[in-house]
């Protein structure tokens, strides 16, 4: 991610280190010290300040980036909303990590899922290649005139962030040509055309501003499709709003986010070899959520297993809620159920995934779901 940041060469980076995202900023700070980027690096005293500084720098007309994880993202909370509603196209790497307590540095998606209503575009990545590619696309999406919203590029802590993998990096110039220069709108530093940022709205305007924000994030879907298409034509790697893996004729589909998709693909291949009609739908874009497209992709599926790597305590998982909403109008409506896994870094092995598919086969045969919601790989159940 630091490499993508170096190629993007933003005007300002304001960040506060937190495991497992520390390495991103540490490497980037080296680029700054070595003069490989022209970025102003602001080392702030907290994540709240990091996001505040990002908002100020962005309102001043700069291309701005940062990175964080877990508790750091939580500390940014109020500023996340302000960044989005002030329509500042800030780019942030979120290295997914469990929120305390108990303190845990390992992966789950509780941090970014908790921020799903903040108004940021959220793009998820299965591996380092996708994280890099998503970050190269992120400024083009964020800065598009119909969008102008901040983007979180999320990847799994440690599992991805601390692994090295064979991947393709693009040439600096090719990346810069793809992204193009940034021109801020209504810069605070433009003294010829003074503006006010962060003014007050009462009940006479607040909801109009929110309505506009909703329209902007909705339009991000088609913008992301066209940017991904241009990325494919430029660099040869294809991305859609979500990845459909062997689901065309699949009766049983698993829906998941991030690195676990790799393990699921292996199992899908093995089961396909054994003649089972199974597939994977991997979420890439979680906000805005592509309801209609996902419903269309899952047309024909009879059983859908939704894996959430986070909890919404007292409710079903956040991904499950979206998927079931997307499928409510499907005719015929498939069986849909929810499994929570991987909190705080607990692994989900291929054998576990095999078992999950065995369960979905049983549900298909019996025509009903036995358990709509459950935790996987937890002692005591």
């Amino acid at each position: 991610m630091a490499e993508a940041m170096r190629q993007i060469n933003p005007d300002v980076v304001a960040a506060f280190p937190i495991t497992p995202s520390t390495q991103v900023i540490e490497d980037f700070a080296t680029f700054v010290a070595d003069g490989k980027v022209k970025t102003e690096l602001i080392t702030v005293e907290s994540e709240h300040s990091a996001m505040s500084a990002c908002i100020g720098a962005s309102a001043a007309g700069g291309r701005v980036m940062t990175a964080t994880s877990a508790n750091g993202l939580a500390l940014m909370w109020e500023m996340l909303y302000i960044a989005a509603s002030m329509r500042q196209p800030i780019l942030m790497t979120v290295v997914n990590r469990a929120l305390s307590a108990p303190i845990n540095i390992h992966c789950d998606h509780g941090d970014s899922m908790g921020a799903r209503d903040a108004g940021w575009i959220q793009i998820y990545a299965e591996n380092n290649q996708e994280a890099y590619d998503n970050m190269v696309m992120a400024p083009v999406i964020a800065e598009h005139r119909d969008v102008r919203l901040p983007v979180m590029v999320c990847l799994d802590g440690f599992i991805i962030s601390h692994s090295i993998e064979t991947m393709e990096l693009e040439e600096d110039q090719a990346v810069r040509d793809f992204i193009g220069p940034y021109r801020g709108l209504h810069s605070l530093l433009d003294t010829d055309r003074p503006v006010t940022w962060g003014a007050l709205d009462l009940h006479d305007y607040y909801i109009e501003h929110k309505r506009g924000q909703q329209a902007a994030i909705e339009s991000a879907k088609s913008v992301i499709e066209s940017v991904s298409d241009r990325f494919y034509r430029t660099f040869g790697r294809k991305y859609e709003l979500f990845e459909s893996y062997r689901i065309e004729d699949a009766e049983r589909v698993m829906v998941a986010i991030n690195s676990v998709a790799g393990e699921i693909k292996e199992v899908v291949d093995a089961l396909r070899d054994a003649g089972e009609k199974v597939g994977l739908l991997k979420i890439r874009l979680f906000r805005p959520f592509p309801y209609a497209q996902i419903a269309a992709a899952l047309r024909g599926a009879k059983v859908v297993t939704v894996l959430d790597r986070s909890t919404s305590m007292g409710a079903y998982g956040p991904l499950f809620g979206e998927i079931r909403t997307a499928l409510y109008d499907a005719e015929p409506r498939p069986l849909v159920y929810n499994r929570t896994f991987g909190l705080g870094g607990r692994e989900l092995f291929p054998d576990d995934i095999q078992e999950l598919f065995a369960e979905s086969r049983r549900y298909l045969q019996n025509g009903k779901v036995e358990k709509i919601f459950d935790f996987l790989n937890v002692r005591g159940d």
């Binding site: 440690f158 064979t166 790799g262």
Partner: protein
């Protein structure tokens, strides 16, 4: 997951175990294979047992889980011998590479191994000779090339490791680490 060649490293915090696994992966990648390497972080303290993993393949690697059934076990710190985790998931064909000056047969007995192949390398000794302190990882990489020439030859390892080290180390240290790889390779004993 037999299409993957999997290596599990066991060391202690501060010995360069994770760096060893990552440098080996970078070197193997240089030979045209797909690779991944990653650590298994627990409490991050000097002296605490650390595991790291390598996965090599001829196709893109999609799985990220820890190595459960290693093709090779790299024991960077012999004081870990006795811990069950070292022999977890091993098979008859699992190869061991152990940093020790003890006799290979004795080390096999200590690990409770039956038919498996085991190589020893005095990596601490090599490290003290070259660096005046205990960083056995480069010597272990050399020993790996001796144990698994089908994955990487010593010539390719030295050539590719030079690139990997150049990104991390000053010039004189790059040369010394390449020496450590060479010594590790040369001083392997086998039982």
């Amino acid at each position: 997951m037999s299409e993957y060649f999997e290596v599990r490293w066991h060391g202690r915090g501060g010995q360069g175990t994770v760096t060893g696994a990552k440098s080996l992966a970078e070197a193997v990648q240089g030979t045209g294979k797909y690779v991944s390497a990653f650590p298994d972080y627990g409490p991050e303290r000097r002296g605490a047992p650390v595991r790291a993993f390598d996965r090599f393949a001829d196709k893109r690697i999609r799985i990220h889980i820890p190595v459960l059934e290693p093709d090779v076990v790299m024991i960077v710190d012999p004081t870990l011998i006795g811990s069950k985790s070292l022999v977890e998931g091993i098979g008859e064909n699992t190869v061991f590479v152990v940093n020790t000056e003890k006799d290979a047969a004795e080390t096999k007995r200590a690990l409770g191994l039956t038919g498996q192949t085991l190589y020893t390398v005095p990596a601490n000794n090599i490290s003290y000779r070259l660096f005046k302190r205990e960083i056995p990882n480069s010597a272990m990489m050399g020993a790996f090339a001796r144990a698994c020439p089908q994955i990487i030859s010593i010539e390719a390892l030295i050539k590719e490791a030079e690139h990997a080290f150049a990104a991390l180390l000053a010039k004189d240290l790059v040369a010394k680490n390449l020496d450590a790889i060479r010594c590790g390779y040369d001083e392997v004993r086998n039982a």
